[in-house]
């Protein structure tokens, strides 16, 4: 056997079934949050905001909202997906099964990324009820969505393996990812910042992801799309390398 497709498929289906069981809460939450954001930012604040470039503020925040939700959901779903078997002890079965590291990651990260992409689309559809959105590069947008989902699910997978408690599971998304996303231009263009802050912001990796994603919507971003793609693939490669190292050494998986 070169590729254990039955295992990948079985885990993928099993993980998605977990999602399906809670499908209403999983989908209603982003719908409600998106609506709230539109009430607050779109109408209340947005009506006093100028257009950003040529884009009305309401439409401008759509990619930001999608990115914010997709990042947090990717990390939390993927980290839970692998942390739970570790916590409950059912990981013994995964460790004793004829599954390669690649197949394990494909199944777990694949399932979590699928959820994230579905969520992204649901948010986009909800936002479309409030504002008109013309997507300039729809294929690029889809590609960015998939890349973002996969990369941050990998990142979540790493956190799930590293975490020794539920607290540790929450701490990185809460202390690192949330602030970086908010400061990464989810709700504003970094051009709106004073010069000193603008420079500081360029050290925030999320800025590059945000900018690329927004480019796919409106044809314009804060930094060039090439730079965005490089940042994207850079982070993806880093996560892959860490996952590879985890399986090679059995880090926090095997004694």
């Amino acid at each position: 056997m070169i590729f254990n497709r039955h295992a990948v498929w079985a885990i993928y289906k099993f993980e998605l079934a977990r999602f399906r069981r809670t499908v209403w809460t999983s989908l209603i939450t982003p719908v409600i949050t998106t609506t709230l954001y539109f009430i607050v930012f779109g109408s209340a604040i947005g009506s006093r905001m100028q257009e950003v470039g040529t884009v009305p503020y309401g439409a401008f925040i759509v990619p930001g909202l999608m990115l914010l939700t997709m990042l947090t959901e990717s990390i939390s779903n993927a980290s839970f997906g692998i942390y739970m078997p570790k916590w409950s002890g059912t990981i013994y079965e995964l460790l004793s099964a004829p599954i390669s590291a690649f197949e394990t990651v494909l199944a777990y990260v694949g399932a979590a990324a699928t959820k994230s992409v579905i969520l992204g689309i649901v948010i986009l559809a909800t936002a479309n009820l409030f504002v008109d959105i013309d997507i300039v590069h729809p294929l690029w947008m889809l590609l960015f969505m998939v890349l973002l989902a996969v990369t941050f699910c990998l990142f979540g997978f790493i956190i799930g393996i590293w975490a020794k408690s539920f607290e540790q599971l929450q701490i990185i998304p809460l202390l690192v990812v949330m602030p970086l996303t908010f400061l990464g231009g989810a709700f504003y263009s970094i051009d709106m910042l004073p010069a000193a802050w603008r420079t500081a912001t360029l050290f925030n990796p999320i800025v590059y992801l945000m900018s690329g994603f927004r480019w796919s919507f409106f044809g314009k971003g804060d930094v060039s799309v090439e730079l965005s793609l490089m940042a994207m693939f850079g982070f993806l490669t880093l996560c892959l390398a860490i996952v590879w190292w985890i399986f090679r050494t059995g880090y926090r998986l095997k004694s």
Binding site: S88, G89, P98, S255
Partner: protein, 311 residues
């Protein structure tokens, strides 16, 4: 023919504790092998290495001709494990977890087979229940169903009867016998001599990470079937009377006790004749007590025996 061959297997955990010390073991195809040993002997460690859950420090394991690390896919597909602890996905249904297990081990879905396994284990009515709604005994059955779902040829049962009632224990033994008839090799661990006696074809005794002996059950039971008779004398003795010379007795507790070690399985234990002779020579006793050597004693006995044999 050996279906599992373990050689020079050692494990030192990250903390520096050595749980296995160069274990060699051959398991024959189709046998039921009982691994007997006290808490912390290294039974679970040994099983976990064979199953791929723990990485060995040294040594090799060949399962049905496949190296468990180099050729892990082929090796693991043949192996099933029911671990010592109950680890389950609490929120999943019985049906979902058992089918997941089959898939994980690289087998195409086979609902008819899973149905048969669940029926054999009296779990069919519970197939749509969440695992957290099941009793402890049922959860253990789920673990067994998971282990059987990919039709393994080598099955490990790590303390299958811990915390299990009489009925489930009987069902379990019936199941094990049924599997053996189909040619499945079974390796189980236990603390109880009686259990090994009831089920196994061969028994291995492990203590402090060392495999002390491996023997056919019949031979071992003979060795293990030793008892000690203690007689509390009415009057202390200075020395054993020569009339009792033919029993190799020991005088203990300042001459207040006589100790006689005998083979409980032997046709003539020598106990009635000893008591008769004592009454003949007018040697009285207040109380008597027989004791089966405990597993601990046996281990100690076996270890010293082996050391003596070596030197």
């Amino acid at each position: 023919m050996s279906v599992l061959s373990i050689s020079g297997l050692s494990k030192t955990y990250a903390g520096g504790f050595t749980a296995l010390k160069s274990v060699d073991l051959e398991i024959r195809k189709g046998e039921i092998f009982a691994l007997l040993g006290p808490n912390g002997a290294g039974k679970t460690t040994l099983i976990s290495i064979v199953c791929g859950i723990v990485t060995p420090t040294a040594g090799t394991v060949i399962a049905d001709g496949h190296h468990i690390q180099r050729d892990y896919r082929a090796a693991r597909m043949k192996i099933g494990l029911v671990p010592q602890e109950l680890h389950t996905d609490a929120f999943e249904t019985v049906w979902a977890t058992v089918n997941l297990s089959r898939g994980m081990f690289g087998r195409a879905p086979d609902p008819a087979l899973i149905e048969r396994i669940l029926k054999d284990l009296s779990l069919w009515e519970k197939r749509n229940s969440k695992i957290l709604e099941l009793s402890g005994g049922m959860k253990r059955r789920v673990m067994i169903a998971k282990a059987l779902s990919h039709e393994p040829e080598i099955l490990f049962l790590d303390e299958p009867t811990a915390g299990v009632d009489v009925e489930l224990r009987r069902d379990m033994w019936n199941l094990v016998r049924g599997l053996r008839e189909r040619g499945v090799t079974i390796i189980l661990t236990t603390h109880y001599i009686e259990e090994a006696e009831e089920m196994a074809d061969r028994v291995g005794v492990i203590n402090k990470g060392e495999l002390i002996l491996v023997e056919d059950k019949a031979a071992l039971m003979k060795k293990l079937g030793r008892k000690t008779l203690t007689l509390n004398l009415t009057e202390p003795l200075a020395a054993l009377p020569p009339e009792l010379g033919e029993w190799s007795l020991k005088l203990k507790a300042d001459g207040n006790e006589i100790e006689y070690e005998f083979d409980a399985n032997a046709e003539r234990t020598g106990v009635p004749s000893l008591l008769r002779r004592m009454s003949d020579i007018g040697l009285g006793f207040k109380d008597l007590n027989t004791e089966q050597s405990s597993l601990e004693d046996i281990f100690v006995g076996l270890v010293t025996e082996r050391q003596e044999a070596r030197s």
